[in-house]
């Protein structure tokens, strides 16, 4: 790609570590309420990471109350993301964990990876 395009694109956010599918993460999102800014946490499992330059994104799934699954996608270089904390790595054998969508409770667990 042209260097001139890279020059205007948003830089990589240093507060986001390398993410992998299956990671349990907590995403700190900046939210504007009027002229006040606060930080909201979104905690869940990374379903997949899309690496596509400035359009890179990742999707996090979490269980809300009543067993309703909530998925939220974030642009990796978005200035709205304050930081991302990886709480644990899990053992997964595929890059996109769509199978988690059909599972709840015990069957939706992932084994932790220690390294």
């Amino acid at each position: 790609m042209s260097d001139l395009l890279k020059a205007v694109e948003a830089p990589v956010n240093p507060n986001i570590p390398e993410l992998r599918a299956g990671d349990t993460v907590s995403v700190h999102v900046k939210i504007k309420e009027g002229n006040r800014e606060r930080i909201q946490e979104f905690k869940g499992t990374v379903l997949y990471v899309k690496n596509n330059g400035t359009n890179s994104s990742f999707t996090v799934r979490r269980m809300a109350s009543n067993g309703v699954g909530v998925e939220r996608s974030f642009l990796l270089r978005s200035p709205r993301i304050d930081k991302v904390v990886v709480e644990r790595h899990n053992i997964v054998r595929r890059a996109r964990l769509f199978f988690l969508r059909g599972r709840t409770g015990k069957s939706a667990r992932l084994k932790q990876k220690f390294s």
């Binding site: 790609m1 042209s2 001139l4 020059a7 205007v8 948003a10 978005s78 200035p79």
Partner: protein, 209 residues
């Protein structure tokens, strides 16, 4: 005042605005352009500015082109384009840069659309084609009727149909400038711009603001 530039389409990407929303932008490398001629009502009968862009080796130009530029001590330039301007406020030899524009301005971007070759009516004019079922054969992308019957007994001139598509001069109107980088001679406009990457484009102040 002159508010126009010649440039090269670099490509599309996305940037984030102050609210953190992703904005699709086309990056254009515009200028620095030289004012190569100022046309006046007194001499040429109308008022315009001729700009030149893209410095090249002298041997790439014809003698006439070279002479035209040499007269005003301007380096050899590949492209010359005219911009209609009422009161130019520039003189021959001046350099104009992207600082003519600021973020938030509305501009028109003129380019040559990508050539598509000879195309049928469905792609070229969004004809709907024929039905896919009910016993039809070979009618899925057929144009249907082009005109009336015995009266007038011919197809009206200019009737839409298959033909050459693309490679036309196209103006994208009222695009918002979202980014101006004077150092790198870059200008970013919201949305798409006609033509392929590295294609020549003209950027001017929007006519219909």
């Amino acid at each position: 005042m002159l508010k126009g530039l010649i440039g090269k389409k670099i490509g599309m990407t996305q940037i984030f605005d102050e609210n953190g929303a992703a904005v699709p932008v086309t990056i254009i490398e515009a200028g620095p352009c030289f004012v190569t001629q100022v046309r006046t009502p007194g001499k040429e009968g109308y008022s315009a500015v001729q700009l030149g862009f893209d410095e090249v080796k002298p041997k790439r130009l014809s003698g006439g082109e070279l002479g035209h530029l040499k007269k005003s001590n301007i380096p050899p330039l590949r492209f010359l384009r005219e911009f209609a301007v009422k009161d130019p406020q520039v003189s021959v030899g001046d350099q104009v840069k992207v600082d003519l524009f600021t973020a938030g301005d509305s501009v028109d971007v003129i380019g040559t659309s990508k050539g598509k070759g000879f195309q049928g009516g469905v792609k070229r004019y969004h004809f709907r084609g024929g039905p896919a079922t009910h016993g039809q054969s070979d009618r899925e992308r057929a144009p249907g009727s082009r005109s009336s019957g015995t009266t007038p007994g011919r197809v009206y001139k200019g009737a839409r149909g298959a033909g050459h598509m693309g490679n036309d001069r196209v103006t994208a109107q009222n695009l918002k400038v979202v980014l101006v980088d004077v150092e790198r001679n870059l200008i970013g406009v919201r949305g798409a711009v006609p033509g392929s990457r590295n294609g020549l484009v003209m950027v001017r102040e929007a006519r219909k603001q």
